[in-house]
């Protein structure tokens, strides 16, 4: 079974991030690493491919400046190959534009039956790209997977909910977004790291994907970031000294907020 994993490469969260005052977006000019959220997808894909008795795991990513370090991490974990879409024309692309590009790249992977993504990325975290990819590819989408099995062309998912989990099944091909609980990602081994260098890594431009240049980039989103401000500091709470009437005061306060 061939599986595609969306692998977002993001600025290292361990290093202090910075906003570009010009574009009002996160600076992405430094080193990019594999989003930890996507390590779960990579691990799940490797385990599913193994359980299916074979098949290739392909990573698909869109990132600026032909950055591949994050993809190399996923290849070191065991993925067979990777596809990167990088193009100056993609700067400023929003979530829907990203989904169009990723969907086009996924379409170029031979025989992909299952597409895995994270529920949301660690930097942008709109949590909208997976469903958009599914819609564009015309595939069913299952979200919040906490476990995945595949048998006879059907995927069986336990879908995390507030109350517990739903059991969902769906025919392949489909798009499944996974939560951090789905599997424990392996550490890439030293041999994996060394082998990753020689694994195929296709680099595509926007033109290669066939996506309309008008629907991506700064103009494509039809949106503009007009300003960025620090969130207002939280104000100090109100302190009630308990002189015997503390409970009444708290209840009155909550009633005032219409909470009780």
């Amino acid at each position: 079974m061939n599986i595609v994993v969306c692998a977002k490469q993001i600025p290292d969260p361990a290093e202090p991030g910075a906003l570009d005052p010009q574009t009002k977006t996160l600076k992405r000019d430094g080193k990019l690493i594999l989003d930890e959220s996507d390590m779960y997808g990579v691990e799940m894909a490797l385990q599913l491919a193994e359980a299916a008795g074979g098949g290739e795991v392909t990573l698909v990513s869109m990132a600026p400046d032909n950055k591949v370090d994050g993809l190399r991490s996923g290849l070191a974990m065991g993925a067979a190959k990777a596809v990167l879409v990088s193009d100056p024309a993609l700067a400023g692309t929003d979530a829907l534009g990203t989904a169009k590009v990723l969907a086009a790249a996924i379409g170029k992977v031979d025989g992909a039956q299952l597409v895995l993504t994270a529920t949301e990325s660690s930097d942008g975290y709109t949590g909208t790209v997976p469903e958009q990819i599914a819609a564009i590819l015309g595939m069913p989408s299952i979200t919040f997977a906490k476990s995945i099995e595949v048998r006879d062309g059907t995927v069986y998912v336990k879908r995390q909910t507030d109350a517990g989990y739903d059991e969902v099944e769906c025919p392949l091909p489909c798009v499944v977004s996974v939560t951090a609980g789905v599997v424990e990602p392996r550490y890439p081994s030293f041999k994996g790291i060394m082998a990753a260098k020689s694994k195929p890594l296709d680099q595509l431009t926007l033109a290669d994907t066939g996506v309309d240049a008008g629907s991506v980039g700064w103009g494509g989103g039809g949106q503009e970031i007009v300003g960025i401000e620090d969130a207002p500091a939280r104000e100090a709470g109100e302190i009630f000294e308990d002189d015997g009437s503390g409970v009444d005061k708290i209840v009155a306060y909550l009633e005032n907020l219409k909470i009780v």
Partner: protein, 386 residues
């Protein structure tokens, strides 16, 4: 000239740092307190391929080099020296002599498991009466009619010699005398469990509590002829020829120690409040930490430059000694500084800097004392020291 590590090294560093932070650091204080050798963690390091980094793929190794091994050792030592020395000794003293001096048969027999981190080996050179002066070895071995080697003697302070993963110890022993009359020393592989090979109880050490160290006693301990490693009488010369790699690897440990102290201090000096402000607001504290950054940087440069020479196949004996001497002395100073920055809590056993302080001292002793490094450096300068 830019001096930076390549992408392989940085990718490896990222993985080992992640492993060290997630799988080692949270347990290091408990292992230290309970004197636990963390078998499962060492096996996990084996699965990561760390014990195979510098060895060729035909023996299950990773086809890397000394620089890459140093990166892994540095990142482990940053959080726990015991685990780092287990790797350093496992590779440098355990597997390396067999790789360097073994016959094809010996390599095929022992290397795959050692390189895969499924088993560990020790190297027994030091004796109660022969340390820096390793030529004074008293352990003896003689060959019987069927060719077996029968060993008698004692070894002291042998790392990785008594863990449940230990499969063998390579020992030096006098096997005759050279034409000059000096003792001829050979190296012989003794599998764990061989009758007459007794592993004494663990030492009560000042630090490195989670590393395995034992005295060994050999009493008419017989091993087959094919366990002789390298040519008869070449044991001492062989040993000398692999010392330099170990010295660079110990320097990498020291780099990790300094880096660990630096990071701990950066954090603490921002958090700890005294006289109404973070202690780092005092120049006395900030400058001490600035000095740690200088030490980490300088130590890293001498170490990786020596490793780069080794990997390029160039002579590096003096550079290895310089790296070991400079970095280990800097590491001991760094741990003292870090303990001072932490004040009273720096003296409490469970604080990482306290553990680093106790652990670091031996870096100036093992694999050649600081004095021995100065001897090597002096000789390289053409000075007539003996």
């Amino acid at each position: 000239m830019t001096f930076e590590l390549n992408d392989d090294a940085e990718a490896l560093r990222r993985v080992v740092r992640d492993f060290a932070d997630s799988e080692v650091a949270p347990h290091a204080a408990a292992w230290d307190r309970d004197h636990t050798f963390p078998v499962d963690t060492v096996r996990a390091m084996g699965d990561l391929g760390l014990f195979g980094i510098p060895f060729p793929q035909e023996y299950g190794g990773g086809g890397g080099n000394l620089t890459l091994l140093c990166v892994a050792i540095e990142e482990l030592a940053r959080v726990d020296q015991s685990v780092a020395i287990t790797l350093e000794a496992g590779v440098g003293l355990g597997a390396n002599p067999i790789y360097r001096f073994g016959t094809d048969d010996q390599r095929e027999r022992w290397l795959p498991d050692l390189v895969g981190g499924r088993t560990l080996a020790g190297f027994g050179l030091t004796e109660p009466d022969a340390g820096s002066d390793a030529g004074a070895t008293r352990t003896k071995a003689h060959q019987t009619a069927d060719g077996s080697w029968v060993i008698n003697g004692e070894k002291a302070f042998i790392t990785n010699s008594g863990t449940e993963m230990t499969s063998l110890v390579t020992v030096t022993a006098v096997t005759g005398s050279e034409p000059s009359g000096r003792p001829a020393i050979s190296t012989i592989v003794v599998p764990s469990g061989t009758p007459g090979f007794e592993v004494g109880p663990s030492y009560r050490k000042m630090g490195w509590h989670a590393s395995d160290t034992h005295p060994l006693v050999f009493t008419d301990c017989a091993v087959p002829a094919e366990n002789l490693l390298g040519a008869e009488g070449r044991g001492f010369a062989n040993f000398l020829s692999i010392l330099d790699e170990g010295r660079v690897a110990i320097a990498a440990m020291a780099v990790g120690v300094i880096q660990g102290c630096l990071e701990e201090c950066q954090r603490y000096a921002n958090e700890r409040i005294a006289f109404g402000r973070a202690i780092g607001a005092n120049q006395a504290v900030a400058f001490a930490i600035a000095d740690l950054a200088v030490a980490a940087h300088a130590a890293r440069l001498v170490t990786y430059q020596a490793a780069a020479l080794a990997d390029a196949g160039k002579p590096y004996k003096a550079e290895a000694a310089i790296a070991k001497l400079y970095t280990t002395e800097a590491a001991v100073s760094a741990t003292r500084t870090a303990t001072q920055v932490f004040g009273g809590s720096g003296y409490m056993d469970e604080t990482p800097v306290a553990r680093h302080y106790r652990d670091a001292k031996v870096l100036e002793i093992g694999e050649g004392t600081s004095e021995v490094q100065r001897l090597v450096i002096s000789r390289s300068l053409g000075l007539p020291v003996s």
